[in-house]
């Protein structure tokens, strides 16, 4: 069978994908997954906004949707921490969705900070950040800069995001798991990329937090204080400091915002 000279070797959509890839290869970013997401996002952007509901998501790549749902999940949970009360049912459903996404990310082999698959962030900044951090000297300066604000990157940030391992491991949360869990979720928000987060957390002085009003479960090193704060054991009427748990989480969120601010400064410098 001969092809007419007007027919391209590849179908229309495929051709686009390849051309995207060719362009980006020239720029030195050989991430196939990212291309797939880019073409998918182009297609969905074309379909346009329809009244009432957002454009059909069926053409969104699985990874893109996962990223979106993850972001939404965290946003909704943060809303609670900002003072709006979530029903227990809703909190449980959100946390279960979060866990499901985490499991999937984990099984995709995304356990380390350096995985590129994580970086299909919806944030346009993420690519920019990645490019900058590709420089070898960045990890050196980043922890250095970050350490100055080490108090912001306190342990409560890491346990904020759930890990399926948490349930079984109460006594000593393995720092690696904590960090990777945190980095998974944080990367999803596009704040950080392949930084050596281990280095950041290594030297953090947590003594100031041990004497604070954090619920006892937190200071015990539990990895699941999201549950403690979202649905504190309400039967225990006189739990010390429980009323301040919302406030502590509030400060963690502001810490996250500070982190974002720090990253912006680093990128611009």
């Amino acid at each position: 069978m001969t092809l007419s000279k007007d027919t391209s070797m590849l179908g229309r959509g495929v051709k686009r994908k390849w051309s995207c890839l060719e362009e980006l290869e020239a720029e030195g970013l050989p991430d196939a997954a990212e291309e797939k997401q880019q073409s998918a996002s182009d297609e969905s952007a074309e379909s346009g906004d329809e009244a009432g509901l957002l454009p059909p998501r069926s053409d969104m790549s699985h990874l893109q949707q996962r990223q979106l749902v993850l972001g939404l999940c965290l946003e909704k949970l943060q809303r609670y921490q900002a003072g709006m009360e979530l029903s227990l049912r809703r909190s449980v459903l959100l946390i279960n969705t979060l866990r499901q996404i985490q499991e999937e990310m984990r099984s995709d082999g995304v356990g380390t900070c350096t995985s590129d698959v994580l970086l299909n962030g919806v944030h346009p900044d993420s690519c920019l950040l990645r490019d900058d951090f590709r420089e070898e000297d960045m990890p050196v300066t980043c922890p250095g800069c970050a350490e100055g604000d080490a108090e912001s990157l306190s342990p409560p940030l890491s346990p904020e995001f759930p890990s399926p391992e948490a349930a079984g491991d109460q006594q000593k949360p393995p720092p690696a798991a904590t960090v990777s869990t945190f980095s998974d979720a944080v990367n999803a928000m596009g704040y950080l990329s392949d930084l050596a987060l281990d280095d950041i957390f290594e030297d953090i002085d947590t003594s100031m937090y041990e004497t604070s009003d954090l619920p006892s479960a937190w200071s015990a090193g539990s990895l699941w204080p999201v549950s403690v704060s979202l649905w504190p054991d309400e039967d225990v009427k006189m739990r010390p400091g429980s009323h301040s748990s919302a406030g502590s989480l509030q400060s963690c969120l502001t810490d996250l915002n500070e982190l974002d601010h720090i990253m912006e400064i680093l990128v611009k410098s």
Binding site: E50, A51, G52, L53, L54, P56, R57, S58, M60, Q65, R66, L68, V69, L72, K76, E85, S87, L88, R89, R90, V92, L93, I95, N96, T97, Q100, I101, A166, A167, A217, S222, W224, S227, V228, W231, P232, D233, E234, D235, K237, M238, H243
Partner: protein, 445 residues
């Protein structure tokens, strides 16, 4: 009831509530319930008020026009409270109303907010005593020296007064938010369910209750499932069911053990792997469970469907009806705007042949089990002329939209019908939009 082979048509009868579009939050209807005879229709709202409508016993000569429902009694059931220990406000919103079967002249109902259940007595007074010896008519006391003769006070007719008084307050038994109340067929006990526990009460005793289900894990961090609804069997006083956020229903027998943590039956449909998504669990969460009147079936409502279960078969439902399958491709958006968490209720008609549930855009759906027919109707002010026949509505999922069809993207997701009720003996339905109560009846030819 629907004639054999004939299509049932529904007509507008009445609408209750404010006309203006500016909805006061306190007026949002949160529960609707007919009593056992259907003569009384109760609604609860977010402001903690209960409004009871009574069907007038007139116009029996006019078969095409059933009696109207008029306001019978209005009272403030619950007030907002503040839990000082936890620094939390307790909403006064009425979550559920359940009528007790009538035993004497007075009517009784249970109403509940998130934390406290109250038993209300609604009684009529149409006579008052007149002719006291020591008191004037206005209540002032007479000077005893002026009394020269004795008389017996006489009961004289007066304008009907309907009084509601709280007879029992069942408080401090629920740590979590109460989602269900169900009166037992023994007419002596009832259950109340919150997210993690179910308590059994005696109607006469308010200072204690029995905990019959407790799914709270020892470690709250392991919590993955909550109770979403519970109901007693209509005839077997030892049997009740409760549904969960994971789409399971457990049937428990109180004779088996004091604590019914071990279910007698577990109803669960295996998940369709082709439909798996990030939202699978959320949409499988059961928002309502209702036994059929004959006690052989139960109906569950999850986000997209209504399922009928035979109590003798746990493996899967015997019937499944899609309420708004066109929303399946929009789950991400519905997750974004929180609509995916909406809790729709469902109800049976008197002879268990038709089931009804609400949807968005002020649509509600009826599924005729026997004739395998379903219809979508709309509760709106536009279709509110007396006895106006409701036109079936159709949602266009995709492709070319036909005339009179409405496309999915034009649906108003703020107009949701969460609460519906069906008269136990007649074809009269009560449908609650955000702040209006619509009453429809079938067209009698």
């Amino acid at each position: 009831m629907a004639g054999p082979g004939g299509d049932m048509q529904w007509c507008f009868s009445q609408v209750k509530g404010a006309i203006d579009d500016d909805v006061a939050e306190a007026d949002i209807i949160s529960t609707v319930e007919f009593n056992q005879t259907g003569e009384l229709l109760a609604t609860g709202d977010k402001g903690g008020r209960v409004v009871i409508f009574q069907q007038e016993v007139e116009n029996k000569n006019q078969p095409q026009f059933r009696s109207e429902y008029n306001v019978y009694s209005t009272f403030q059931s619950h007030e907002p409270e503040f839990d000082y220990l936890k620094s939390l406000e307790i909403e006064e919103k009425i979550n559920k109303i359940r009528w007790l079967p009538q035993k004497n002249a007075a009517q009784f109902l249970l109403s509940t907010n998130d934390k406290t259940i109250k038993l209300w007595k609604i009684s009529e007074r149409d006579r008052r005593p007149e002719g006291y010896n020591l008191k004037e008519e206005d209540g002032r006391y007479k000077d005893p020296n002026t009394i020269t003769s004795l008389r017996v006070p006489v009961l004289m007719p007066m304008d009907l007064m309907v009084e509601a008084s709280p007879r029992r307050v069942f408080a401090n038994a629920h740590t979590y938010h109460i989602n269900s109340v169900s009166v037992n067929s023994d007419n002596e006990t009832y259950l109340s369910a919150d997210d993690l526990r179910i308590n059994l009460w005696h109607l006469e005793i308010t200072d204690r209750s029995f905990n019959i289900v407790d799914i709270k894990p020892a470690n709250m961090e392991e919590l993955t499932e909550v109770i979403t609804a519970a109901e007693f069997h209509p005839h077997q006083c030892n049997t009740f069911v409760y549904s969960s956020s994971k789409g399971t229903i457990r049937l428990c027998d109180m004779r088996a053990a004091a604590l019914c943590d071990k279910h007698s039956k577990l109803f669960e449909e295996p998940e369709d792997p082709s439909n798996r998504s990030f939202f699978s669990e959320i949409i499988s969460s059961i928002s309502d469970v209702k036994f059929s009147h004959n006690g052989r079936y139960m109906m569950t409502r999850d986000y997209l469907s209504v399922k009928i279960w035979d109590l003798s078969m746990e493996s899967r439902p015997v019937e499944t009806y899609q309420v708004h399958e066109y929303l399946r491709s929009k789950l991400c958006s519905l997750y974004e705007n929180d609509c995916i968490f909406d809790k729709f209720e469902c109800c049976w008609n008197g002879n268990d042949s038709v089931v009804m549930t609400g949807s968005y855009n002020n649509f509600f759906r009826m599924f005729d089990r026997g004739h395998r027919r379903d219809v979508t109707l709309e509760a709106s002010r536009e279709n509110s002329k007396p006895m106006q026949v409701l036109k079936p509505r159709k949602v266009c999922a995709g492709g070319k939209r036909k005339k009179d069809e409405i496309s999915v993207d034009s649906l108003d997701f703020n107009k949701k019908i969460l609460h519906t009720a069906w008269h136990p003996q007649d074809n009269i339905i009560a449908v609650a939009t955000t702040n209006n109560l619509y009453i429809f009846q079938d067209k009698v030819n």
